[in-house]
Protein backbone atom coordinates (compact mmCIF):
# COMPACT_ATOMS: atom_id res chain seq x y z
CA UNK A 1 0.00 0.00 0.00
CA UNK A 2 2.74 2.46 0.97
CA UNK A 3 4.75 1.45 -2.03
CA UNK A 4 1.74 2.03 -4.24
CA UNK A 5 1.07 5.40 -2.67
CA UNK A 6 4.62 6.58 -3.32
CA UNK A 7 4.59 5.34 -6.89
CA UNK A 8 1.20 6.90 -7.57
CA UNK A 9 2.31 10.24 -6.12
CA UNK A 10 5.46 10.20 -8.22
CA UNK A 11 3.38 9.58 -11.34
CA UNK A 12 1.05 12.39 -10.34
CA UNK A 13 3.93 14.85 -10.03
CA UNK A 14 5.52 13.65 -13.27
CA UNK A 15 2.23 14.04 -15.13
CA UNK A 16 1.80 17.54 -13.70
CA UNK A 17 5.29 18.57 -14.78
CA UNK A 18 4.87 17.29 -18.32
CA UNK A 19 1.38 18.80 -18.49
CA UNK A 20 2.75 22.19 -17.40
CA UNK A 21 5.45 22.08 -20.09
CA UNK A 22 2.91 21.05 -22.67
CA UNK A 23 0.46 23.79 -21.69
CA UNK A 24 3.21 26.37 -21.71
CA UNK A 25 4.55 25.39 -25.10
CA UNK A 26 1.10 25.18 -26.65
CA UNK A 27 -0.04 28.53 -25.31
CA UNK A 28 3.24 30.34 -25.97
CA UNK A 29 4.34 28.87 -29.26
CA UNK A 30 3.15 31.81 -31.35
CA UNK A 31 5.82 34.48 -31.01
CA UNK A 32 4.77 38.05 -31.66
CA UNK A 33 1.12 37.36 -32.19
CA UNK A 34 0.00 37.38 -28.53
CA UNK A 35 1.60 40.77 -28.08
CA UNK A 36 -0.32 42.04 -31.09
CA UNK A 37 -3.71 40.76 -29.90
CA UNK A 38 -2.96 41.99 -26.41
CA UNK A 39 -2.00 45.43 -27.66
CA UNK A 40 -5.26 45.74 -29.55
CA UNK A 41 -7.23 44.46 -26.58
CA UNK A 42 -5.62 46.74 -24.03
CA UNK A 43 -4.98 49.98 -25.81
CA UNK A 44 -6.80 50.46 -29.07
CA UNK A 45 -9.75 48.43 -30.28
CA UNK A 46 -10.19 44.92 -31.54
CA UNK A 47 -10.92 46.07 -35.08
CA UNK A 48 -7.88 48.28 -35.51
CA UNK A 49 -4.36 47.40 -36.53
CA UNK A 50 -1.75 47.80 -33.83
CA UNK A 51 1.32 49.81 -34.85
CA UNK A 52 4.63 47.92 -34.57
CA UNK A 53 6.03 50.29 -31.90
CA UNK A 54 3.06 49.53 -29.65
CA UNK A 55 3.48 45.77 -30.16
CA UNK A 56 7.16 46.04 -29.33
CA UNK A 57 6.40 48.05 -26.22
CA UNK A 58 3.72 45.60 -25.04
CA UNK A 59 5.96 42.58 -25.53
CA UNK A 60 8.79 44.41 -23.74
CA UNK A 61 6.61 45.37 -20.79
CA UNK A 62 5.04 41.93 -20.31
CA UNK A 63 8.25 39.93 -20.89
CA UNK A 64 6.88 38.36 -24.06
CA UNK A 65 10.20 38.63 -25.87
CA UNK A 66 12.28 36.67 -23.38
CA UNK A 67 13.40 33.17 -24.41
CA UNK A 68 10.67 30.58 -23.90
CA UNK A 69 12.70 28.45 -21.51
CA UNK A 70 13.35 31.42 -19.25
CA UNK A 71 9.68 32.36 -19.31
CA UNK A 72 8.73 28.78 -18.48
CA UNK A 73 11.16 28.50 -15.58
CA UNK A 74 10.02 31.83 -14.17
CA UNK A 75 6.39 30.73 -14.43
CA UNK A 76 6.97 27.33 -12.80
CA UNK A 77 9.28 28.86 -10.18
CA UNK A 78 6.52 31.31 -9.37
CA UNK A 79 3.92 28.54 -9.05
CA UNK A 80 6.16 26.63 -6.64
CA UNK A 81 6.35 29.75 -4.49
CA UNK A 82 2.59 30.13 -4.62
CA UNK A 83 2.72 32.95 -7.16
CA UNK A 84 0.64 32.13 -10.22
CA UNK A 85 1.68 35.22 -12.13
CA UNK A 86 0.01 38.47 -12.99
CA UNK A 87 -2.99 38.75 -15.28
CA UNK A 88 -2.48 41.49 -17.82
CA UNK A 89 -6.13 41.64 -18.83
CA UNK A 90 -7.52 42.19 -15.33
CA UNK A 91 -4.33 43.79 -13.99
CA UNK A 92 -4.52 41.61 -10.91
CA UNK A 93 -2.49 38.69 -9.56
CA UNK A 94 -3.79 35.40 -10.96
CA UNK A 95 -4.17 33.86 -7.50
CA UNK A 96 -6.50 36.70 -6.45
CA UNK A 97 -8.58 36.12 -9.59
CA UNK A 98 -8.72 32.40 -8.91
CA UNK A 99 -9.71 33.04 -5.31
CA UNK A 100 -12.57 35.13 -6.63
CA UNK A 101 -13.70 32.84 -9.46
CA UNK A 102 -12.91 29.36 -8.19
CA UNK A 103 -15.67 29.18 -5.52
CA UNK A 104 -18.53 29.75 -7.99
CA UNK A 105 -17.11 27.06 -10.29
CA UNK A 106 -16.66 24.61 -7.44
CA UNK A 107 -20.19 25.36 -6.25
CA UNK A 108 -21.64 24.83 -9.72
CA UNK A 109 -19.62 21.65 -10.30
CA UNK A 110 -20.56 20.27 -6.89
CA UNK A 111 -24.26 20.96 -7.35
CA UNK A 112 -24.18 19.51 -10.87
CA UNK A 113 -22.31 16.45 -9.63
CA UNK A 114 -24.73 15.89 -6.73
CA UNK A 115 -27.69 16.26 -9.06
CA UNK A 116 -26.12 13.84 -11.55
CA UNK A 117 -25.18 11.31 -8.87
CA UNK A 118 -28.46 11.32 -6.98
CA UNK A 119 -30.69 11.33 -10.06
CA UNK A 120 -28.37 8.89 -11.81
CA UNK A 121 -28.31 6.38 -8.95
CA UNK A 122 -32.06 6.55 -8.35
CA UNK A 123 -32.97 6.22 -12.02
CA UNK A 124 -30.30 3.58 -12.64
CA UNK A 125 -31.46 1.39 -9.76
CA UNK A 126 -35.11 1.91 -10.69
CA UNK A 127 -34.37 1.01 -14.29
CA UNK A 128 -32.49 -2.15 -13.28
CA UNK A 129 -35.24 -3.30 -10.93
CA UNK A 130 -37.87 -2.78 -13.62
CA UNK A 131 -35.82 -4.38 -16.35
CA UNK A 132 -37.57 -4.44 -19.74
CA UNK A 133 -40.69 -2.74 -18.39
CA UNK A 134 -41.97 0.41 -20.04
CA UNK A 135 -40.32 2.69 -17.48
CA UNK A 136 -36.97 1.01 -18.08
CA UNK A 137 -37.26 1.60 -21.80
CA UNK A 138 -38.20 5.25 -21.31
CA UNK A 139 -35.21 5.81 -19.02
CA UNK A 140 -32.85 4.10 -21.46
CA UNK A 141 -34.07 6.10 -24.46
CA UNK A 142 -33.77 9.23 -22.32
CA UNK A 143 -30.16 8.47 -21.40
CA UNK A 144 -29.03 7.82 -24.95
CA UNK A 145 -30.71 11.04 -26.03
CA UNK A 146 -29.05 13.03 -23.29
CA UNK A 147 -25.54 11.82 -24.13
CA UNK A 148 -26.18 12.84 -27.72
CA UNK A 149 -27.21 16.42 -26.96
CA UNK A 150 -24.46 19.03 -26.73
CA UNK A 151 -24.35 20.62 -23.26
CA UNK A 152 -24.51 24.15 -24.58
CA UNK A 153 -27.67 23.37 -26.56
CA UNK A 154 -29.30 21.83 -23.48
CA UNK A 155 -28.48 25.07 -21.68
CA UNK A 156 -30.00 27.17 -24.46
CA UNK A 157 -33.12 24.98 -24.58
CA UNK A 158 -33.53 25.18 -20.79
CA UNK A 159 -33.32 28.96 -20.96
CA UNK A 160 -35.82 29.01 -23.83
CA UNK A 161 -38.35 26.79 -22.08
CA UNK A 162 -38.03 27.65 -18.40
CA UNK A 163 -36.89 31.26 -18.51
CA UNK A 164 -38.42 32.69 -21.65
CA UNK A 165 -41.57 30.66 -22.28
CA UNK A 166 -42.53 29.72 -18.73
CA UNK A 167 -40.77 32.54 -16.88
CA UNK A 168 -39.93 30.27 -13.95
CA UNK A 169 -36.20 30.81 -13.59
CA UNK A 170 -33.83 33.73 -14.11
CA UNK A 171 -31.94 33.71 -17.42
CA UNK A 172 -28.47 34.37 -16.11
CA UNK A 173 -26.50 35.77 -13.23
CA UNK A 174 -25.43 34.74 -9.78
CA UNK A 175 -27.43 36.09 -6.88
CA UNK A 176 -29.51 33.43 -5.24
CA UNK A 177 -30.19 29.73 -5.14
CA UNK A 178 -32.67 29.84 -8.03
CA UNK A 179 -29.86 30.94 -10.35
CA UNK A 180 -28.00 27.65 -10.05
CA UNK A 181 -30.83 25.32 -11.11
CA UNK A 182 -30.57 25.59 -14.89
CA UNK A 183 -26.74 25.70 -15.14
CA UNK A 184 -26.45 22.69 -12.83
CA UNK A 185 -28.93 20.64 -14.85
CA UNK A 186 -27.32 21.59 -18.15
CA UNK A 187 -23.87 20.77 -16.80
CA UNK A 188 -24.81 17.54 -15.05
CA UNK A 189 -27.03 15.95 -17.68
CA UNK A 190 -24.29 13.99 -19.50
CA UNK A 191 -22.84 12.72 -16.25
CA UNK A 192 -26.29 11.73 -15.03
CA UNK A 193 -26.82 9.69 -18.17
CA UNK A 194 -23.49 7.88 -17.77
CA UNK A 195 -24.23 7.15 -14.12
CA UNK A 196 -27.68 5.78 -14.98
CA UNK A 197 -26.23 3.44 -17.57
CA UNK A 198 -23.36 2.17 -15.47
CA UNK A 199 -25.50 1.79 -12.35
CA UNK A 200 -28.15 -0.10 -14.26
CA UNK A 201 -25.66 -2.58 -15.73
CA UNK A 202 -23.81 -2.99 -12.47
CA UNK A 203 -27.04 -3.45 -10.54
CA UNK A 204 -28.30 -6.10 -12.96
CA UNK A 205 -25.02 -7.97 -12.56
CA UNK A 206 -25.10 -7.73 -8.80
CA UNK A 207 -28.70 -8.89 -8.51
CA UNK A 208 -27.60 -12.16 -10.11
CA UNK A 209 -24.82 -12.77 -7.60
CA UNK A 210 -25.14 -15.63 -5.09
CA UNK A 211 -25.01 -13.33 -2.05
CA UNK A 212 -28.12 -11.50 -3.23
CA UNK A 213 -29.92 -14.78 -3.78
CA UNK A 214 -28.83 -15.79 -0.30
CA UNK A 215 -30.10 -12.54 1.20
CA UNK A 216 -33.44 -13.11 -0.51
CA UNK A 217 -33.54 -16.75 0.58
CA UNK A 218 -32.85 -15.69 4.13
CA UNK A 219 -36.16 -13.88 3.96
CA UNK A 220 -34.87 -10.32 4.16
CA UNK A 221 -37.36 -7.75 2.95
CA UNK A 222 -36.65 -6.66 -0.63
CA UNK A 223 -35.82 -3.15 0.55
CA UNK A 224 -33.01 -4.44 2.75
CA UNK A 225 -31.70 -6.71 0.01
CA UNK A 226 -31.54 -3.83 -2.46
CA UNK A 227 -30.38 -1.05 -0.16
CA UNK A 228 -27.81 -2.71 2.01
CA UNK A 229 -26.67 -5.68 -0.06
CA UNK A 230 -27.00 -5.01 -3.77
CA UNK A 231 -26.53 -1.24 -4.03
CA UNK A 232 -23.39 -1.11 -1.97
CA UNK A 233 -21.71 -3.67 -4.16
CA UNK A 234 -23.01 -2.23 -7.38
CA UNK A 235 -21.71 1.22 -6.53
CA UNK A 236 -18.02 0.68 -7.25
CA UNK A 237 -18.07 1.18 -11.06
CA UNK A 238 -20.10 4.35 -10.51
CA UNK A 239 -17.20 5.76 -8.51
CA UNK A 240 -14.95 5.47 -11.54
CA UNK A 241 -17.50 7.29 -13.66
CA UNK A 242 -17.75 10.05 -11.05
CA UNK A 243 -13.98 10.50 -11.12
CA UNK A 244 -13.81 10.58 -14.88
CA UNK A 245 -16.80 12.92 -15.13
CA UNK A 246 -15.24 15.44 -12.82
CA UNK A 247 -12.93 16.54 -15.62
CA UNK A 248 -15.81 16.66 -18.06
CA UNK A 249 -17.78 18.83 -15.63
CA UNK A 250 -14.90 21.26 -15.12
CA UNK A 251 -14.44 21.47 -18.87
CA UNK A 252 -18.17 21.77 -19.48
CA UNK A 253 -18.31 24.61 -16.99
CA UNK A 254 -16.34 26.75 -19.45
CA UNK A 255 -19.26 26.64 -21.86
CA UNK A 256 -22.09 26.63 -19.34
CA UNK A 257 -20.63 29.51 -17.35
CA UNK A 258 -20.28 31.58 -20.50
CA UNK A 259 -23.93 31.00 -21.42
CA UNK A 260 -25.33 31.75 -17.96
CA UNK A 261 -22.83 34.55 -17.15
CA UNK A 262 -21.77 32.53 -14.16
CA UNK A 263 -18.72 34.22 -12.62
CA UNK A 264 -16.48 31.15 -12.48
CA UNK A 265 -13.06 30.26 -13.85
CA UNK A 266 -14.61 28.88 -17.05
CA UNK A 267 -16.04 32.22 -18.07
CA UNK A 268 -12.78 33.84 -16.99
CA UNK A 269 -10.78 31.42 -19.15
CA UNK A 270 -12.88 32.34 -22.17
CA UNK A 271 -12.18 36.04 -21.61
CA UNK A 272 -8.49 35.29 -21.17
CA UNK A 273 -8.41 33.32 -24.42
CA UNK A 274 -10.04 36.03 -26.47
CA UNK A 275 -7.58 38.61 -25.08
CA UNK A 276 -4.57 36.26 -25.30
CA UNK A 277 -3.74 36.83 -21.66
CA UNK A 278 -1.19 34.02 -21.73
CA UNK A 279 -0.28 33.86 -18.04
CA UNK A 280 -3.93 33.71 -17.05
CA UNK A 281 -4.69 31.02 -19.66
CA UNK A 282 -1.77 28.83 -18.59
CA UNK A 283 -2.37 29.14 -14.89
CA UNK A 284 -6.12 28.55 -15.18
CA UNK A 285 -5.60 25.46 -17.34
CA UNK A 286 -3.02 24.12 -14.91
CA UNK A 287 -5.38 24.66 -11.99
CA UNK A 288 -8.11 22.73 -13.83
CA UNK A 289 -5.73 19.89 -14.74
CA UNK A 290 -4.43 19.82 -11.16
CA UNK A 291 -7.93 19.53 -9.70
CA UNK A 292 -8.83 16.82 -12.19
CA UNK A 293 -5.72 14.76 -11.37
CA UNK A 294 -6.17 15.16 -7.62
CA UNK A 295 -9.80 14.04 -7.76
CA UNK A 296 -8.84 10.94 -9.72
CA UNK A 297 -5.98 10.27 -7.31
CA UNK A 298 -8.33 10.43 -4.33
CA UNK A 299 -10.89 8.22 -6.06
CA UNK A 300 -8.20 5.66 -6.80
CA UNK A 301 -7.45 5.50 -3.10
CA UNK A 302 -11.15 5.47 -2.20
CA UNK A 303 -11.59 2.15 -3.98
CA UNK A 304 -9.71 0.49 -1.20
CA UNK A 305 -11.83 2.13 1.49
CA UNK A 306 -15.08 1.09 -0.20
CA UNK A 307 -13.98 -2.37 -1.23
CA UNK A 308 -11.18 -3.72 1.00
CA UNK A 309 -10.81 -6.69 -1.34
CA UNK A 310 -9.05 -4.43 -3.83
CA UNK A 311 -5.35 -4.30 -3.12
CA UNK A 312 -2.80 -2.30 -5.01
CA UNK A 313 -0.37 -4.54 -6.85
Amino acid sequence: MHHYLIKRTAYLILTLVIASMFTFVVVNATPGEPAEVLARHLYIGLEEVAPPELIAEVSERYDLNKPLLQQYLEWVGGILHGDLGHSILFNKPVDRLLMLHLPPTILLTAVAMSFATIAGLVLGIYSALHQNKISDHIIRVGTIFSVSMPGFWVAVMLILVFSIWLGLTPVSGYSGPQYIILPAIALGLHTMASIIRIMRTSMLETMDKPFVTFAKAKGLPMRRVICSHACKNAFLPVLTVIGMSFGALLAGSVVIETIFSWPGIGAMLMKAISARDLVLIESTIMVIVFMFLIVNFVIDLLYHVIDPRITYE
Binding site: T15, I18, V26, T30, I144, S148, P150, F152, M157, G252
Partner: protein, 298 residues
Protein backbone atom coordinates in the same frame (compact mmCIF):
# COMPACT_ATOMS: atom_id res chain seq x y z
CA UNK B 1 6.72 -24.63 -39.07
CA UNK B 2 3.80 -26.61 -40.28
CA UNK B 3 2.41 -26.41 -36.78
CA UNK B 4 2.49 -22.61 -36.84
CA UNK B 5 0.81 -22.74 -40.18
CA UNK B 6 -1.96 -24.80 -38.70
CA UNK B 7 -2.35 -22.46 -35.74
CA UNK B 8 -2.45 -19.49 -38.03
CA UNK B 9 -4.95 -21.21 -40.26
CA UNK B 10 -7.13 -22.10 -37.31
CA UNK B 11 -7.01 -18.48 -36.24
CA UNK B 12 -8.04 -17.26 -39.68
CA UNK B 13 -10.77 -19.83 -39.76
CA UNK B 14 -12.00 -18.66 -36.36
CA UNK B 15 -11.99 -15.06 -37.43
CA UNK B 16 -14.01 -15.97 -40.50
CA UNK B 17 -16.50 -17.74 -38.33
CA UNK B 18 -16.62 -14.73 -36.08
CA UNK B 19 -17.26 -12.55 -39.11
CA UNK B 20 -20.12 -14.74 -40.22
CA UNK B 21 -21.36 -14.60 -36.69
CA UNK B 22 -21.72 -10.87 -36.54
CA UNK B 23 -23.33 -10.78 -39.92
CA UNK B 24 -25.86 -13.19 -38.51
CA UNK B 25 -26.37 -11.02 -35.43
CA UNK B 26 -26.78 -7.93 -37.57
CA UNK B 27 -29.52 -9.68 -39.51
CA UNK B 28 -31.26 -10.39 -36.22
CA UNK B 29 -31.54 -6.70 -35.44
CA UNK B 30 -33.77 -4.66 -37.69
CA UNK B 31 -33.34 -1.61 -35.44
CA UNK B 32 -29.60 -1.57 -35.98
CA UNK B 33 -30.07 -2.02 -39.72
CA UNK B 34 -32.30 1.06 -39.75
CA UNK B 35 -29.59 3.00 -37.88
CA UNK B 36 -27.02 2.00 -40.50
CA UNK B 37 -29.35 2.97 -43.34
CA UNK B 38 -30.03 6.35 -41.73
CA UNK B 39 -26.30 6.87 -41.25
CA UNK B 40 -25.73 6.12 -44.90
CA UNK B 41 -28.40 8.68 -45.78
CA UNK B 42 -26.69 11.24 -43.55
CA UNK B 43 -23.30 10.54 -45.16
CA UNK B 44 -24.70 10.84 -48.67
CA UNK B 45 -26.49 14.05 -47.70
CA UNK B 46 -23.21 15.40 -46.34
CA UNK B 47 -21.33 14.61 -49.55
CA UNK B 48 -24.00 16.08 -51.81
CA UNK B 49 -24.95 18.96 -49.53
CA UNK B 50 -24.62 21.72 -52.17
CA UNK B 51 -26.90 19.74 -54.51
CA UNK B 52 -29.47 18.90 -51.85
CA UNK B 53 -29.83 22.29 -50.23
CA UNK B 54 -32.75 23.90 -52.06
CA UNK B 55 -31.46 27.45 -51.70
CA UNK B 56 -28.17 29.25 -51.42
CA UNK B 57 -27.29 28.97 -47.70
CA UNK B 58 -25.73 32.43 -47.80
CA UNK B 59 -28.54 34.22 -49.66
CA UNK B 60 -30.04 36.84 -47.36
CA UNK B 61 -33.60 38.09 -47.50
CA UNK B 62 -34.06 40.79 -44.92
CA UNK B 63 -37.78 41.13 -45.62
CA UNK B 64 -38.35 37.46 -44.89
CA UNK B 65 -36.27 37.01 -41.78
CA UNK B 66 -37.16 34.83 -38.76
CA UNK B 67 -40.00 33.08 -40.56
CA UNK B 68 -41.71 29.97 -39.21
CA UNK B 69 -41.71 26.72 -41.24
CA UNK B 70 -43.31 26.92 -44.68
CA UNK B 71 -43.27 25.18 -48.05
CA UNK B 72 -40.56 27.57 -49.26
CA UNK B 73 -38.48 27.33 -46.12
CA UNK B 74 -38.94 23.90 -44.56
CA UNK B 75 -37.23 24.82 -41.31
CA UNK B 76 -38.00 28.54 -41.49
CA UNK B 77 -35.47 31.33 -41.98
CA UNK B 78 -32.81 32.78 -39.72
CA UNK B 79 -32.23 36.32 -38.45
CA UNK B 80 -30.88 37.38 -41.86
CA UNK B 81 -33.61 35.61 -43.83
CA UNK B 82 -31.32 32.76 -44.89
CA UNK B 83 -32.98 29.39 -45.45
CA UNK B 84 -32.42 27.30 -42.31
CA UNK B 85 -32.80 23.95 -44.05
CA UNK B 86 -30.06 24.79 -46.54
CA UNK B 87 -27.83 26.05 -43.78
CA UNK B 88 -28.37 22.92 -41.69
CA UNK B 89 -27.49 20.71 -44.67
CA UNK B 90 -24.33 22.71 -45.33
CA UNK B 91 -23.49 22.56 -41.63
CA UNK B 92 -23.81 18.79 -41.91
CA UNK B 93 -21.15 18.80 -44.60
CA UNK B 94 -18.80 20.90 -42.48
CA UNK B 95 -19.23 18.76 -39.38
CA UNK B 96 -18.98 15.44 -41.17
CA UNK B 97 -15.94 16.42 -43.21
CA UNK B 98 -14.06 17.53 -40.11
CA UNK B 99 -15.24 14.65 -37.92
CA UNK B 100 -14.56 11.87 -40.41
CA UNK B 101 -11.09 13.18 -41.32
CA UNK B 102 -10.22 13.59 -37.66
CA UNK B 103 -11.32 10.10 -36.76
CA UNK B 104 -9.44 8.53 -39.68
CA UNK B 105 -6.26 10.35 -38.62
CA UNK B 106 -6.61 9.56 -34.91
CA UNK B 107 -7.56 5.96 -35.65
CA UNK B 108 -4.41 5.37 -37.71
CA UNK B 109 -2.05 7.26 -35.40
CA UNK B 110 -3.59 6.00 -32.17
CA UNK B 111 -3.68 2.38 -33.30
CA UNK B 112 -0.12 2.51 -34.60
CA UNK B 113 1.36 4.09 -31.48
CA UNK B 114 -0.75 2.05 -29.07
CA UNK B 115 -0.03 -1.31 -30.65
CA UNK B 116 3.66 -0.52 -31.03
CA UNK B 117 3.95 0.43 -27.36
CA UNK B 118 1.99 -2.56 -26.18
CA UNK B 119 3.91 -5.03 -28.30
CA UNK B 120 7.35 -3.57 -27.74
CA UNK B 121 7.05 -3.28 -23.96
CA UNK B 122 9.95 -2.12 -21.80
CA UNK B 123 10.98 1.52 -21.53
CA UNK B 124 9.45 2.44 -24.90
CA UNK B 125 6.07 1.35 -23.60
CA UNK B 126 6.65 3.19 -20.33
CA UNK B 127 7.45 6.47 -22.04
CA UNK B 128 4.51 6.21 -24.44
CA UNK B 129 2.16 5.29 -21.60
CA UNK B 130 3.25 8.42 -19.69
CA UNK B 131 2.68 10.60 -22.73
CA UNK B 132 -0.78 9.10 -23.20
CA UNK B 133 -1.52 9.81 -19.52
CA UNK B 134 -0.56 13.45 -19.93
CA UNK B 135 -2.87 13.87 -22.90
CA UNK B 136 -5.69 12.20 -21.02
CA UNK B 137 -5.05 14.42 -18.00
CA UNK B 138 -6.48 17.33 -19.95
CA UNK B 139 -10.26 17.44 -20.16
CA UNK B 140 -10.75 17.45 -23.94
CA UNK B 141 -12.40 20.86 -24.30
CA UNK B 142 -9.70 22.45 -22.15
CA UNK B 143 -6.94 21.02 -24.34
CA UNK B 144 -8.84 22.14 -27.42
CA UNK B 145 -9.14 25.66 -25.97
CA UNK B 146 -5.40 25.78 -25.31
CA UNK B 147 -4.70 24.65 -28.86
CA UNK B 148 -7.12 27.18 -30.33
CA UNK B 149 -5.00 29.93 -28.81
CA UNK B 150 -2.03 28.47 -30.63
CA UNK B 151 -3.54 27.58 -33.98
CA UNK B 152 -6.26 30.09 -34.64
CA UNK B 153 -9.31 29.24 -36.69
CA UNK B 154 -9.71 27.27 -39.91
CA UNK B 155 -10.89 23.84 -41.01
CA UNK B 156 -7.41 22.29 -41.24
CA UNK B 157 -6.42 23.72 -37.87
CA UNK B 158 -9.61 22.32 -36.41
CA UNK B 159 -8.81 18.83 -37.74
CA UNK B 160 -5.23 19.05 -36.48
CA UNK B 161 -6.39 20.22 -33.07
CA UNK B 162 -9.08 17.57 -32.67
CA UNK B 163 -6.57 14.89 -33.71
CA UNK B 164 -4.15 16.02 -31.01
CA UNK B 165 -6.98 15.96 -28.49
CA UNK B 166 -8.22 12.48 -29.37
CA UNK B 167 -5.36 10.23 -30.46
CA UNK B 168 -4.50 9.33 -26.86
CA UNK B 169 -7.75 7.52 -26.10
CA UNK B 170 -7.28 5.38 -29.21
CA UNK B 171 -3.67 4.67 -28.31
CA UNK B 172 -4.60 3.72 -24.76
CA UNK B 173 -7.33 1.33 -25.85
CA UNK B 174 -5.16 -0.30 -28.52
CA UNK B 175 -2.23 -0.63 -26.13
CA UNK B 176 -4.45 -2.36 -23.59
CA UNK B 177 -5.82 -4.72 -26.23
CA UNK B 178 -2.35 -5.68 -27.44
CA UNK B 179 -1.07 -6.13 -23.89
CA UNK B 180 -3.95 -8.48 -23.17
CA UNK B 181 -3.41 -10.51 -26.33
CA UNK B 182 0.32 -10.54 -26.78
CA UNK B 183 0.97 -13.57 -24.60
CA UNK B 184 -1.78 -15.61 -26.20
CA UNK B 185 -0.65 -18.91 -27.61
CA UNK B 186 -1.09 -18.00 -31.25
CA UNK B 187 1.20 -15.00 -30.81
CA UNK B 188 3.80 -17.01 -28.93
CA UNK B 189 3.82 -19.71 -31.57
CA UNK B 190 4.14 -17.13 -34.32
CA UNK B 191 7.10 -15.70 -32.48
CA UNK B 192 8.61 -19.11 -31.93
CA UNK B 193 8.32 -19.66 -35.66
CA UNK B 194 10.54 -16.64 -36.11
CA UNK B 195 8.03 -14.36 -37.82
CA UNK B 196 9.07 -10.69 -37.76
CA UNK B 197 7.45 -8.46 -35.15
CA UNK B 198 5.65 -6.19 -37.59
CA UNK B 199 4.13 -9.20 -39.31
CA UNK B 200 2.83 -10.62 -36.04
CA UNK B 201 1.48 -7.21 -35.10
CA UNK B 202 -0.28 -6.63 -38.41
CA UNK B 203 -1.46 -10.09 -39.34
CA UNK B 204 -2.01 -11.82 -36.02
CA UNK B 205 -2.64 -9.24 -33.31
CA UNK B 206 -4.42 -6.54 -35.30
CA UNK B 207 -7.45 -8.61 -36.39
CA UNK B 208 -7.99 -9.75 -32.82
CA UNK B 209 -7.55 -6.35 -31.19
CA UNK B 210 -9.14 -3.92 -33.59
CA UNK B 211 -12.88 -4.31 -33.00
CA UNK B 212 -13.13 -2.36 -29.73
CA UNK B 213 -11.16 0.43 -31.40
CA UNK B 214 -13.63 0.47 -34.29
CA UNK B 215 -16.43 0.81 -31.75
CA UNK B 216 -14.58 3.66 -30.07
CA UNK B 217 -14.11 5.33 -33.45
CA UNK B 218 -17.82 5.13 -34.25
CA UNK B 219 -18.81 6.60 -30.92
CA UNK B 220 -16.06 9.19 -31.14
CA UNK B 221 -17.48 10.43 -34.42
CA UNK B 222 -20.53 11.54 -32.47
CA UNK B 223 -18.34 12.93 -29.73
CA UNK B 224 -16.24 14.86 -32.25
CA UNK B 225 -19.34 16.41 -33.77
CA UNK B 226 -20.32 17.60 -30.29
CA UNK B 227 -16.85 19.07 -29.73
CA UNK B 228 -16.82 20.85 -33.11
CA UNK B 229 -20.18 22.42 -32.44
CA UNK B 230 -19.22 23.38 -28.89
CA UNK B 231 -16.06 25.13 -30.08
CA UNK B 232 -17.78 26.97 -32.86
CA UNK B 233 -20.59 27.90 -30.48
CA UNK B 234 -17.89 29.61 -28.42
CA UNK B 235 -16.75 31.36 -31.59
CA UNK B 236 -13.50 29.41 -31.76
CA UNK B 237 -12.06 27.09 -34.32
CA UNK B 238 -13.99 27.94 -37.47
CA UNK B 239 -14.22 31.27 -39.31
CA UNK B 240 -17.77 32.70 -39.17
CA UNK B 241 -18.19 32.44 -42.96
CA UNK B 242 -18.49 28.62 -42.80
CA UNK B 243 -22.00 27.45 -41.88
CA UNK B 244 -21.70 25.30 -38.77
CA UNK B 245 -24.36 24.17 -36.33
CA UNK B 246 -22.69 25.52 -33.19
CA UNK B 247 -22.13 28.98 -34.60
CA UNK B 248 -25.69 28.97 -36.01
CA UNK B 249 -27.01 28.41 -32.47
CA UNK B 250 -24.79 31.14 -31.12
CA UNK B 251 -25.95 33.56 -33.81
CA UNK B 252 -29.57 32.68 -33.08
CA UNK B 253 -29.32 33.50 -29.37
CA UNK B 254 -30.25 37.16 -29.80
CA UNK B 255 -33.47 36.49 -31.65
CA UNK B 256 -34.34 33.44 -29.56
CA UNK B 257 -37.51 35.02 -28.10
CA UNK B 258 -39.13 35.76 -31.44
CA UNK B 259 -37.50 33.09 -33.61
CA UNK B 260 -36.81 29.99 -31.53
CA UNK B 261 -36.26 27.90 -34.69
CA UNK B 262 -32.84 29.56 -35.03
CA UNK B 263 -31.61 27.67 -31.98
CA UNK B 264 -33.86 24.62 -32.07
CA UNK B 265 -33.17 23.38 -35.61
CA UNK B 266 -29.34 23.23 -35.56
CA UNK B 267 -29.42 21.66 -32.09
CA UNK B 268 -31.77 18.94 -33.28
CA UNK B 269 -29.43 18.32 -36.20
CA UNK B 270 -26.43 17.86 -33.87
CA UNK B 271 -28.44 15.60 -31.58
CA UNK B 272 -29.74 13.44 -34.43
CA UNK B 273 -26.37 12.82 -36.04
CA UNK B 274 -24.63 12.19 -32.72
CA UNK B 275 -27.44 9.88 -31.66
CA UNK B 276 -27.07 7.85 -34.85
CA UNK B 277 -23.34 7.44 -34.30
CA UNK B 278 -23.84 6.46 -30.67
CA UNK B 279 -26.48 3.88 -31.56
CA UNK B 280 -24.31 2.51 -34.37
CA UNK B 281 -21.28 2.29 -32.06
CA UNK B 282 -23.24 0.41 -29.43
CA UNK B 283 -24.72 -1.82 -32.06
CA UNK B 284 -21.32 -2.70 -33.51
CA UNK B 285 -20.05 -3.44 -30.02
CA UNK B 286 -22.94 -5.74 -29.28
CA UNK B 287 -22.72 -7.70 -32.50
CA UNK B 288 -18.93 -8.08 -32.49
CA UNK B 289 -18.48 -8.82 -28.83
CA UNK B 290 -21.09 -11.30 -27.67
CA UNK B 291 -19.51 -11.24 -24.21
CA UNK B 292 -21.00 -7.90 -23.28
CA UNK B 293 -24.52 -7.64 -22.09
CA UNK B 294 -26.39 -7.00 -25.29
CA UNK B 295 -29.93 -7.24 -24.05
CA UNK B 296 -32.31 -4.54 -24.92
CA UNK B 297 -30.15 -2.71 -27.44
CA UNK B 298 -31.42 -2.15 -30.92
Amino acid sequence: MSETGTVARIKIWQSNVRGADWYYRLRQRPGLQIVFVLLAVVLIAAVFAPVISPQDPAAQDLYGKNQWMSADHWFGTDYLGRDLFSRVVCGLQTSMAIAVTTIVITFVIGTAIGSYAGYKGGWVDNVIARVIDVFLAFPSIILALALVTLLGSGILNMIFMLSIVQWASFARLMRGQVLAEKNAEYVLSARAAGLPGWWILLKHLMPNCIMPVVVLATMDLGHTILTISTLSFLGLGLPPSIPEWGSMINAGLDSMRTAPLNVIVPGLAITTVTLLFNLAGEGVRDITDPGTDAEGSL
